[in-house]
Point group: C2
DNA sequence: CGAGGTGTTGAGATTTGTCAACCTACGTGG
DNA sequence: CCACGTAGGTTGACAAATCTCAACACCTCG
């Protein structure tokens, strides 16, 4: 994985002329309650279907923050690093938003790396902010977008701060499963896009611990695991594991 | 500590007629680059110096999100809970902002509890958002405010995900120290407002572990610890501890 | 077919949690 | 004003969880 920044390589930009207004991710990216002409204006901000090959960075830590990205297809991880320490802060799939980490400091605070060949839509943040000043529902939508990131992060903090290994992994798998299900994929049969090490980094565990927990879940009949192909056989037991006594 | 919600008990509201424009926390709460008449309009949004007695909740999980709060004086913790699990998600001191957790879902996702008698200014969020639509620098300020919360949370995620006990505690003390220093207090002599248990909850550790680490730091001559009175004798060593090898 | 990245498993070391005892400081009520 | 009760803090011994290191299997991709 070379991890060179893929932007602003305009050659990689493939505009398929699919407007936001007809996009299948519409309800995820667009605010409700805005009218046709407003959608039209929003459409014009969006640089559509930027390709990000597997292993490439969509943006890197320290780069000036300029845009938000909606994942159109593919799978990403975000990775923070400081003082030799590295930590996966999240995984983003189609219909989710990347780049919110840059709003606070005007610079990106983590790298966004494609874990498979992916496509994103790019929205210049200044333009989005400007437009949101004139369209109240868009402003509300933007606030919610950033605010939900705060809530997500706090849930991960709780996971890292109060759960033991098996609980973290169970919670992670259930979360992935739900997110796949929302997108119309199977909630039980998942193809993980990340390595054990990346899972471990996200969950605050070593890769061996992740592997051992997966094996244990498989032994217990809760999962079927074949490398990255993970099937949830008994989601209820996973939920019970999450709810079990805290650390 | 009764922890009853202190709002909307208007009797507790003490308006000292100190406007934002002359407030000592001005640079923390007010955006730069807005003019006098704009400041005036912002002033009018602010409900000043709401008193929150020690142990009371400024807001609670599940309540509709209506306002942001600037801590004027005092000290708070925010506490998330779900399924019997409880986790301190942060500590807020004078000049810092509370309530951002509610933006994402329109409801607060954690409790804000005063750890000592405190005062806050209250800013109705809808009004702030409305005003920010007309004052671009205010909008920018608001975005940064929420965005910085994301960055803060991600730093805590890294702390919880990659550091061992001593490192977490060292990083926590240095962070507190810096925040006190910024406010003109001593960077070395601190009076902690929280219990060992609350520190532990924030850091993903048991209170005994926190206590042991503090004792060890004291033995090593890095700290002087007398209950909640903690003096940093050697910040450099603390920094080295933080930078030391990861888990 | 080989190499390297990825994943699994075992044994032992280390860190952290658990439980218990005890100490101290503080606030309350007599 | 003192005594007492309680919450908070410290420390020790031990248990449990997780990490570390190592060996090896597997799979994919040149």
């Amino acid at each position: 994985m070379s991890e060179t920044s893929v932007l602003p390589d305009k050659a990689a930009l493939v505009d398929l002329k699919v407007a936001c207004s007809t996009c299948s991710l519409r309800e995820l990216c667009l605010p409700v309650g805005i009218n046709a002409s407003e959608i039209e204006r929003l459409d014009q901000l969006v640089e559509r279907r930027v390709a990000v090959p597997r292993g490439a960075c969509l943006y890197q830590r320290g780069e000036p923050f300029q845009a938000l990205f909606a994942v159109k297809a593919g799978f990403f991880k975000t990775r923070a690093s400081s003082g030799g320490r590295e930590h996966v802060t999240g995984f983003q799939m189609a219909g989710e938003v990347l780049g919110l980490d840059g709003i606070g400091t005007e610079r990106h605070t983590c790298d966004a790396v494609a874990l498979e060949d992916s496509q994103v839509c790019r929205i210049e943040f200044d333009q989005l902010a400007e437009l949101s000043r004139r369209i109240a529902p868009l402003q509300r939508h933007l606030h919610r977008l950033i605010g939900r990131e705060v809530v997500r992060d706090q849930r991960v903090m709780m996971l890292l701060g109060t759960m033991r290994a098996e609980q973290r992994l169970a919670a992670f798998l259930l979360n992935l499963s739900q997110r796949f299900a929302i997108r119309g994929f199977s909630a039980s049969a998942m193809l993980l896009r990340m390595t054990r090490e990346e899972m471990g980094s996200y969950l605050g565990l070593k890769l061996e611990t992740v592997s051992r927990c997966l094996s244990k879940f498989a032994d217990d009949g809760v999962l079927a695991v074949h490398n990255r192909d993970v099937r949830i056989l008994n989601p209820q037991v996973l939920e019970e594991i999450v709810e079990a006594a805290t650390i």
